[in-house]
Symmetry: C2
Subunit: 381 residues, 2 copies
């Protein structure tokens, strides 16, 4: 079996494991930077390796529209096309269709939509999503799902039925043995619906499971409460993927609750807005107070940006709208999250996760969240 | 003396030399990429070293306006600010003021202008230009000059007088012993004016001389004819710098005529427009014919872009407006020019410049120039 998940250590609900894929073994918990259009914006593959990235995500919807999944297949697949020979995960296209495209019709069979690029009309079905993902050739592929508004019960219920039927069809249709199809548990913030969805999706016996429909509008306490009752519904012997989550504090809270895989545009998107992640929180380098600072973003950080440049220089690049600013902040922000994940993983292996997580949360001030949210009670000793 | 120019070899009028500076020895002929705002656009210092850049140019006008030359001085100077510990050349600000800013008044003493960034009012004099350049701290600094329309004799004559008076003031005012002040010979396309200007400027006994006012609107044959009669007016024992020139064919023609130093935004600017320099000429990677090309930009090229990515992928990045496209094409284009300059230099050292230059010109098709311009007659053997 090409995909094997082994748990190396468990510290209460936090887990450290290894997931083997055709393009290398992922050491979990792992954070995946997002390479929407077959490139993690403003970073080269060698940049990504340097900052410690092991898994990256690419978007099925975007690559289907441009340059086209068949072209990528003809060019040897996505790994070769973008020169990334480590593991790749593709989403199903579902979330992007619902959030970016102009929806024309959702029916039991699929979704008809218009491209956000040129207004052309397209249709995704579960089988089409798998066809595209098989053309792209990622190591981990996702079942086609519908991501509803998480606190609108009627919308969540309707999406649940389709998501389950579509997951069944994806499993039946998927044929490449070198790709692991993950199922997605939906259910919004409703415990009974999460229970129903987890029962159905895990019943498909897939090599991994994702929790979808979070970090899309609900509050942070709602998200953590949803994780508290959803993660235990997933089998221990399969990797668990929390989709679209990636702020430093959310990674800590997700790992604490037993999540193994994360992805998010946050580190790369805020980099392009001039914001950098530090151990104290997010800082905006446009701020005039950095104009003459000879210090790096984070003293002690070993990334190229911090080892080489002052905040004053980075601020100048941002103010002058220079591309190098995007590259350097992107490198730093991914490096920061990769370093955090490595520390959390080592703490789990050493049985010191509670201390490590608490120490991080004690100094890190999330945006708009003056007081840190608590770790699960089991870590309060 | 911190600045020493030694001629290693001469092949007819083409020269190979070494110019020592406080930040290392330049092997000439040398091409300098342009780092207008203290960054070569879309390239990091390590990128630049990797592709073989040794000298870079930064723009006094831009850095004076943003982030300010005094800030850069306070941050340890331009080398430290931008983390480039190899030689740097700053222009005088004159050309940028005349081409970018809104001119309010030119008088015998200097130029009053308004910033292209925020419309604020400023004044450059020869002394102010030197003050700024001394704050920046480049290895090579330029005398403040006026760059006129090259084929408008009245305008060229008026500029000549000011340029000469200002050069004298720059020499008198300049005080840092670790900076080499280069004089600029003006005179447009007029041989008598070039003769008059060269006589005056070389009479100042400066460590290097530039030819200004070319590549700013005259035809290619006019430019080469101007070089033919201007270069011999410059002393053999000082480096000769042709300002603003940097297409591959112009580099070959300039080296053939005895130029040692070049700078140009061309390789970096066209990169950001999706164009790549090859041995056959410039190609535009937006072209649909590259959409499924598995080949690199230039087979055999050892740059990171060519060693790693297909034209199909690069085209996709360009079409998708991805920052990585700018970085990769910038690297390739600078690498191409650095490689060309290294080959020309080696050919001069080996006494095979004519063959090397002719071989390059035989396959390289310049934009809008179907037939290659000839090398100077002395190379026709």
């Amino acid at each position: 079996m090409p995909f094997e998940f082994t748990l190396e250590a468990q510290d209460h609900s936090a887990r450290a494991g290894q997931f083997t894929t055709p393009h290398g073994t992922l050491r979990t918990p792992v954070f995946a930077p997002v390479g929407t259009q077959a490139t993690v914006k403003a970073a080269s593959p060698r940049d990504l390796r340097e900052v410690g990235a092991s898994l990256i995500l690419a978007n099925t919807y975007h690559l289907y529209l441009r340059p086209g999944d068949e072209l990528i297949r003809d060019m040897g697949g996505l790994h070769r096309f973008m020169a990334w020979d480590n593991p790749i995960l593709t989403d199903s296209g579902g979330f992007q269709v619902f959030s970016l495209a102009g929806i024309r019709r959702i029916d039991a069979d699929g979704v008809t939509f218009v491209s956000h690029i040129d207004g052309s009309k397209h249709r995704f079905t579960p089988e089409k999503s798998i066809d595209i993902q098989q053309n792209l050739g990622a190591d981990i592929i996702m079942a086609f799902d519908e991501c509803p508004i998480p606190d609108d019960r009627a919308s969540v219920e309707a999406a649940l039925e389709r998501t389950h039927a579509w997951a069944t069809r994806c499993k039946a249709y998927q044929s490449r043995p070198d790709q692991a199809l993950f199922g997605i548990v939906q259910g919004g913030i409703f415990e009974d619906l999460r229970r129903e969805s987890a029962a159905f999706i895990t019943g498909l016996d897939l090599p991994g499971y994702a929790i979808g429909g979070l970090a899309v509008g609900e509050t942070k306490p709602q998200m953590l409460a949803s994780l508290d009752f959803t993660v235990p519904l997933l089998p221990e012997d399969r990797p668990r993927y929390l989709m679209g989550v990636g702020s430093p504090e959310d990674l800590v809270h997700g790992v604490a609750r037993g999540i193994d895989i994360f992805d998010c545009v946050l580190p790369t998107r805020i980099a392009r807005n001039g914001a950098a992640l530090t151990r104290q929180g997010r800082i905006n380098l446009r701020n005039a107070k950095y104009s003459a600072s000879p210090e790096p973003i984070e003293p002690g950080c070993t990334c190229y940006a911090c080892a080489t440049f002052s905040k004053a220089y980075l601020r100048h690049l941002i103010k002058a709208d220079e591309i190098l600013a995007h590259n350097l902040l992107t490198l730093h922000n991914i490096h920061m999250l990769q370093t955090l994940m490595r520390e959390l993983r080592e703490a789990i292996l050493n049985g010191t996760f509670a201390e490590c997580a608490a120490a991080f949360l004690a100094t890190y001030r999330p945006v708009g969240q003056p007081d840190p949210l608590p770790l699960p009670a089991i870590f309060s000793r």
